[in-house]
Amino acid sequence: MGLCTCGLANGGGDVLAHIRDEVQKRRLDFVVHETGCVGFCEMEPIVDVLAPGLPRVFYHHVTTEEARELVRSLAAGDFQSESALMRLERDELLRQVDRPLTGKLNGLANVPQMNDVGFYKSQMKLALRNCGFIDPHNIDDYIATGGYASLAKVIQTMTPDEVVECIKQSGLRGRGGGGFATGRKWEACRKAEGRPKYVLCNGDEGDPGAFMDRSIMEGNPHAVLEGMAIGAYAIGSDRGYIYVRLEYPLAVENLRIAIQQAEQECLLGENILGTDFNFTIRISRGAGAFVCGESTALMASIEGQAGEPRAKHIHTSEKGLFGKPTNLNNVETWANVPVILDKGAEWFSSIGNENSKGTKVFSVVGKVKNTGLVEVPMGVTLRQIIFDIAGGIPDGRSFKGVQTGGPSGGCLPASQLDLPVDFDSLTEAGSMMGSGGMIVMDDRTCVVEVARYFTEFLCRESCGKCTACREGTLRMLELLEKITSGQAAPEDLGLLEEVCLHVRDNSICGLGKSAPNPTLSTLRYFREEYDAHVLDRKCPAGVCRALTKFRIDPEACKACGQCPKACPVSAISGGKKKVPAKIDQEKCVQCGLCRDACKFDAVTAT
């Protein structure tokens, strides 16, 4: 039973209770396990069934009743193959361990294979390798998939320098946003003078619409611990922290259990695997400030101070946490480390493109058919991710733009759809990889409003230490609000751009430096939309209320009665008995619900 936060939010907890109850009531010989998320969040709650000699079968959108029915029919040997989502014949995607399939498939032969389902077709799961397949509360599950083998190999057969060299050769770059070469970072920290050295994991994922790291911490916490232990061995550290926000209670809980179990198994703590290598990990819980994802603010927060950044002229690898050499990597980066040590640097660097190696996890959300977590080799195009994997734009609408990299990233238009998704291409296009949030927008999205929304978020999350970010993001927000409310003068666009550039060049930390990205990228790619707001006082997408009037075309209206029903303020008359609907502009609040309700495109925004 998939019980990541997405599964729980969709009622997975209830479904699990009903399954357990049904199994117990019928005294069935079934083992009920909780797993993490397989990534297909759109289909939650997902139940998967594993029977000896048969492929793993996945069921989607399972209700409590259906769950009971499924248990009953499974007890009778019926797999309900007509309602199954997909089947997986290999135990685990990365290792591709083939289980002997001795059983008869019967109806299951008609269930699509996981790799043939559009959502999974072009995916390659390294960081997410076990998410949704193993029980995160059980270390044996992780070990059974080859977990901690890399750590054992590293400690017993490799020198720290060899490990650093291996990571350097693999071309792994930080998955948290900056894309700094991980091997070089480790090397700098290894060479830095001072003891103790700290190894940190950044689990302070805070972008709206991003949940890559959460899914890894919830579904595969041991991968993070193993990666950190390997890193600690390479760097020469004996202590580490995982910084994770308290808004991720399940991640905190699963990590806590995982650390406890790893310590019991002598895979963390003192004398790991009987050697003289010691490494302990503690969890540091954050209060959910976005700025604490920034390295120096994160360290200040662990130290017990207010989460505020400082200038990084002296690198944290020299002077970081408590003034000691510190190596900080993001959750996904750590989760990649065991795979690289296991399969080798050469294998890893064969995935991806020239300057970006390996895979990247994206959380694809917004106006797409298949919301979920996607892990693809670097260098695939935005088009492949949005259209092939995520299924494109729903409701017959068209693609307008995609915000990559969360609020600090940029908004890319349709002309950039064939852009390869890697660190350098995205930065060049005015956006960034960020930690991997991807918010897709359709033609009924106003990009000015999108920029305003993200700027509002960043303005609220700015720590306020430096003038540029504190005052600058506020001024950006004011100007964007002026534009969306139709009060902007033409010169305000120039001032907006000037403020943006000031904030970008003068802020202390990454939050401020990247805060203007949404505005600058939309100004670059959607300038005409800004002009329409400022010069024509119109919102082409019909979103900004002050600039929008909805009208119903009496010719196109079929008087189906849907729009009067949808209107929250009863502003629509007619629409029934062959009388076309009409909007009373006095009453209308421009919410756009009538337009969404109309199946005949009779409602237009002007």
Binding site: V291, C459, G464, C466, T467, T473, D505
Partner: protein, 281 residues
């Protein structure tokens, strides 16, 4: 970077405004530039405190290899091969914008308006964000309080545009000793205190501290807590007395005369001794 360059006392070469200087590695660029006679405005910097980098006025343009970027000079450690410009057009523009923003944040601060006018900003292009405000959130008060007390009486609260300096929960501070270092270090005169009878009212912090009186003459001396704080700092050997300057002087004079009496010297003897050389020719 060579190994020599990493040694803490190593000398490195750098260029500031076209002039090459050799200085100790990791000295702050702001200090070095000022020693060279270059004027750089600052609001959040103080020689007694570690650099903070909040006001962004001391921004300079740094070039190293193929990279050029803007950064604050107060917290920039000098390393080999930096080329720093303190008056590049981008620098001037950045300072002007920062001043425009500070002006509208603290419209009551005359110091900011004067500085802005000096830099050629006649009128900010934004509306005032706060009225009746002089605080620019430079953090000098917070840092000086932390440095003196260790256990801060004031700190920042909230974040972003809501950021403010306050006592815990805005309640009268129990930690404040009334030393008024915050008032003295504030660059815009935002922090004010007033003597009201035998109490010092620091209205900015909603805090009142009791004043000690001179044991001799009874004049208002200094905050009780500050006196206790100083006493604790001085340890057992030196016991400062609760006296005002005038009374202390009187007391010292009396002590001196006591010493001379007990040591057998009389006023007459001393006079005779000092008078001796005068008698001569």
């Amino acid at each position: 970077m060579s190994d020599d360059d990493r040694k803490p006392l190593a000398q490195v070469k750098t260029v500031i405004d076209g002039r090459e200087v050799t200085v100790q590695r990791d000295r702050w660029a702001l200090d070095v530039a000022r020693e060279m006679g270059i004027s750089i405005p600052t609001l959040c910097n103080h020689p007694a405190l570690t650099p903070y980098g909040a006001c962004r006025l001391c921004v300079v343009q740094v070039t190293k290899g193929k990279w050029t970027w803007l950064t604050t000079s107060c917290d920039l450690p000098i390393r080999e091969g930096l080329s720093i410009s303190t008056d590049a057009p981008a620098v001037v523009q950045a300072r002007k914008m920062a001043l425009e923003m500070l002006w509208t944040q603290a419209p009551d601060a005359k110091e900011i308006r004067d500085l802005a006018r000096q830099m050629g900003v006649e009128k900010p292009r934004f509306d005032n964000r706060l009225e009746d405000n002089k605080c620019i959130l430079c953090g000098l008060c917070v840092r000086v309080c932390e440095k003196i007390l260790g256990d801060s009486a004031i700190h920042f609260s909230h974040r972003g545009a809501k950021r403010d300096v306050t006592t815990p929960f805005g309640e009268p501070s129990e930690t404040c000793i009334g030393c008024r270092a915050c008032e003295m270090i504030c660059p815009t005169g935002h922090i004010v205190s007033r003597l009201e009878g035998s109490a010092l009212n620091i209205s900015t912090w909603n805090t009142e501290v009791e004043m000690a009186r001179c044991e001799q003459c009874g004049c208002v001396l200094m905050p009780v807590k500050e006196f206790e704080f100083i006493r604790a700092r001085m340890g057992e050997k030196i016991r400062p007395e609760q006296l005002c300057q005038a009374c202390r002087r009187q007391k010292t004079a009396k002590q001196l005369s006591d010493i001379s009496t007990t040591s057998g010297w009389t006023a007459g003897q001393r006079q005779a001794k000092t008078a001796e050389p005068v008698t001569g020719d």
